[in-house]
């Protein structure tokens, strides 16, 4: 028997509680969604309207039953049973030799079931009723009975789980909502970008992110409370959604200010122009509107209130989900709006100034690019700000742009370990006597180009 280690137990060992204003992930079996907790405001999960008052004060990871539009806390042991039930219900068996249509064996009519539901009968009671009125339930094998039960439970017991957003959950959520939304950046590709770029606390990273800030959020999560991210965007100002996933992490505002600054890619490119040119640009662009004190590595911008311009990705809004009026919006008057607008602009300029100061040293620790634009020019430009011996990773939904980028980088001769890859991600159904790869899979997780920047070779002495 080995001796046990002596170790200090963590002092912060309590369960985190859901609070008003938190960004949370609501997950049901078939869907998950990011919302901000607001007692007075309804959230939507698919067509289901939900009031979130009932979750405040409960620990993250809790399950809730949906009754009407309200959420009721569920005992953890019970919710666990339901989770495992889903796995079995989803199990598919190809052997349908004795397949008998289920539909005719139920004595309750659809109308009767609907009556029960609207009559406020709990999901569990409905399932019990269904079992009693099934003519075939008794004759089923034990396995088939379990399967039937779980299937019905899944249908009639409407549970959701409230989770604290993490890179994993955000990545899963965005991908399930439509992979193209995040350029098909699948979780395995994202994971590899972070690893290949050696993302860690105290590092300084350049991130070009066309996927709702998911990549930026993933890097920020790995910084802990020190390091920095320069988030580069294609337009002169960021899009309204450029930090959606970042805000979802519920980082303290001061922390975010300390870690994250934004910069248009054009401004980054200007830093590389001959000095004479650079000075002029600098003067004209750090406009006199700066209000906060701009210490190095600290942006005095209230990030959550930051100016955001509508872009093509958020301009298509499902009206259903926007019925509920924004409470701040309705409170705000015109002049306050104008003021806020000016503030945001100033703050953006402030961020830009700091970002340029950071980049100008050309000593960044990693570059991560997910772009809806062709990556080559972006990569060639931003690579200039990396210190030698630092890695980079470029992701694309398509293969050919990365072939082009590979070629240009190869020609330039300032990189080692250039690799173009894709990964296959397969998930498995593991159940007794029913184990096989998932019936459906993602056909592509995108392509990845990785490498390490080095100093260009001055002399070719190799014989």
């Amino acid at each position: 028997m080995s001796q046990n280690l002596t170790y200090e137990k963590s002092s912060t060992n309590t369960r985190k509680i859901i609070q008003e204003g938190d960004f949370i992930i609501i997950r049901r079996q078939d869907a998950s969604r990011l919302v901000q907790v607001d007692k007075y405001k309804a959230a939507f999960l698919g067509k289901q309207k939900l009031f979130l008052g009932g979750i405040i004060g409960k620990p993250y990871g809790s399950s809730f039953e949906v009754k009407g539009s309200d959420l009721h806390f569920v005992d953890p042991a019970k919710s666990r049973f339901l989770c495992s039930s889903v796995a079995i219900a989803e199990a598919q068996t190809r052997d349908n030799r004795f397949l008998v249509d289920d539909g005719k064996s139920q004595k309750l009519t659809k109308e009767q079931i609907e009556e029960l539901k609207t009559g406020g009968v709990s999901g569990e009671q409905i399932v019990e009723n269904l079992v009693e009125n099934s003519t075939t339930f008794k004759d089923k094998t034990q396995y088939a009975q379990a399967k039937y039960l779980k299937k019905k439970q899944k249908k009639y017991i409407n549970h959701v789980i409230i989770l604290e957003p993490t890179t994993r959950l955000l990545s899963e959520m965005y991908f399930s909502q439509g992979p193209l939304k995040i350029c098909n950046l699948r979780v395995d590709s994202l994971a590899q970008m972070l690893a290949m770029c050696n993302v860690m606390s105290r590092g300084r990273y350049v991130v070009f992110d066309s996927c709702f800030g998911l990549l930026t959020a993933a890097v920020l999560e790995r910084l802990g409370d020190s390091g920095c991210v320069v988030q580069v965007y294609p337009g002169p100002g960021p899009t309204s959604s450029f930090r959606q996933a970042v805000y979802a992490l519920n980082l303290a505002q001061e922390q975010l200010k300390k870690l994250l600054v934004g910069l248009p890619v054009t401004e980054a490119a200007r830093l590389l122009l001959p000095p004479s040119n650079e000075v002029i640009n600098h003067d004209k662009h750090v406009v006199p509107k700066i209000t906060g004190d701009s210490k190095e590595n600290s942006v005095e911008v209230n990030a959550r209130e930051e100016a955001e311009e509508k872009d093509e990705f958020t301009s298509v809004v499902d009206m259903k989900d926007c019925e509920v009026e924004d409470k701040y919006e309705s409170q705000a008057n015109k002049s306050a709006k104008e003021e806020a607008k000016a503030d945001r602009k100033a703050q953006r300029m402030d961020e830009q100034k700091i970002a340029k100061e950071i980049l100008a040293v050309k000593n960044m620790d990693g570059l991560l690019v997910v772009s809806r634009h062709h990556p080559t020019n972006i990569v060639l430009t931003l690579l200039e700000f990396l210190a030698p011996s630092r890695p980079f990773a470029v992701f694309s939904l398509y293969q050919q742009p990365l072939v082009d980028c590979y070629r240009k980088l190869k020609d330039k001769g300032e990189t080692l370990f250039l690799k173009l890859t894709e990964t296959w991600l397969r998930s498995y159904q593991v159940l007794p006597d029913r184990t096989h790869p998932a019936i459906n899979m993602s056909g592509s997780g995108g392509y990845l180009l990785t490498g390490i920047k080095v100093e260009p070779l001055q002399t070719h002495k190799k014989s």
């Binding site: 959520m173 193209l180 509508k310 989900d321 056909g443």
Partner: protein, 338 residues
């Protein structure tokens, strides 16, 4: 009409493929006087009779192609009475079983006949397919189909529980295909059915536990060259792809700055700004399309336009986003009589 001999012109009684679009294809038995309703309106069977296969036929509000039905097209259109095998698996089964004209094959179970048609095609005109199914109705439906498809001489269908009784055939099979829930129960009964020169066997199972028991039974039963394969189709969409370039050269940057400076003074052209709080309710309502960029009328789009090339679209093969992840495991083995 016969699956095993091409014909140039459509005859009354032929089963043909009607192609309206890639997602609207139908196997249709031509019966003089009948009318087939399509999304392009009525299609008179009589207007098809006498047409050359591969030609266009008229519907009342459009047109359709009439095609000769191959086993592969049949697989795409057949009525599903069970889950079926698809062409990637089917083609591998046929090659790995060494099938060719004249071979004798035993199949259990018949299912919806997707594999049976391809087997019959390959061993025709001199081979024989004996196919069995546990389910009576499926057997009679399959028998009818084989007859209608000109395979009556090649294929014999019978109701039988092969797991319990074996094929009931002696010294005849060159190859066997098993798609059974418990193939390991059937395997010890297979030996007698193989020809004295031996032959090949394939067992299809969706779950790995079935494969494990099958391989064990094959080992015990004296089979050799036991191999388990999985074959997955990865389709590509061939389309024009254009990623806009961002131009970051000195010249472009200077041009951009001018636009940027112009709008620095006035803010009127920044039409829309959001309030501070993010409308999280709209998080998943945007569908990102990586290819097309609709331009907003803000100053940003003016600058972006100046930086972006007129995109040169390239043709590329893009992997489909959702693909089948698993059909089943194919276990192959060789049988030699001792």
């Amino acid at each position: 009409m016969s699956f095993i001999e091409y014909r140039d012109l459509v005859k009354n009684g032929d089963t043909v493929l009607i192609y309206l679009s890639i997602s609207n294809i139908y196997a249709l038995k031509i019966t003089s006087g009948k009318v087939f309703q399509t999304k392009y309106g009525a299609l008179k069977h009589d207007s098809i009779i006498g047409k050359r296969y591969g030609n266009v036929v008229q519907c009342s509000r459009g047109w359709a192609y009439v095609l000769f039905l191959t086993p592969e097209l049949w697989t795409l259109t057949l009525p599903h009475r069970t889950q079926i095998l698809y062409t990637p698996d089917i083609s591998l089964v046929i090659l790995q079983l060494d099938l060719k004209p004249g071979k004798v094959v035993c199949e259990a179970g018949t299912g919806s006949g997707s594999l049976s048609h391809a087997l019959a095609r390959t061993i025709a005109p001199t081979g024989q397919l004996y196919t069995f199914d546990f389910h009576e109705q499926r057997v009679s439906l399959a028998r009818e189909e084989f007859q209608e498809h000109g395979l009556g001489d090649i294929v014999t269908v019978q109701q039988r529980d092969v797991c319990a009784e074996g094929f009931g055939l002696e010294d005849i099979a060159d190859a066997m295909f098993l798609d059974l829930p418990h193939p390991w129960e059937a395997i010890p009964l297979m030996n007698v059915s193989f020809r004295c020169s031996g032959g090949r066997l394939c067992s299809f199972s969706p779950c790995i536990e079935q494969v494990q028991k099958t391989c064990e039974a094959l080992h015990t039963g004296g089979f050799t060259d036991i191999t388990t394969l999985e074959c997955l189709l990865r389709p590509f969409e061939v389309k024009e792809v254009s990623l806009p370039h961002l131009h970051l050269s000195e010249e472009t940057l200077n041009k951009t700055r001018k636009i940027s400076l112009e709008s620095q003074d006035g803010t009127t052209d920044v039409k829309k700004e959001e309030t501070g709080k993010i409308n999280t309710n709209s998080l998943d309502d945007t569908t990102g399309d990586a290819v097309s960029f609709s331009k907003s009328n803000s100053k940003r789009s003016r600058i972006e336009k100046s930086m972006e090339n007129v995109c040169e679209a390239e043709w590329a093969a893009v992997p489909s986003l959702q693909i089948p992840g698993h059909t089943g495991y194919l276990t192959f083995a060789t049988f030699t009589h001792s």
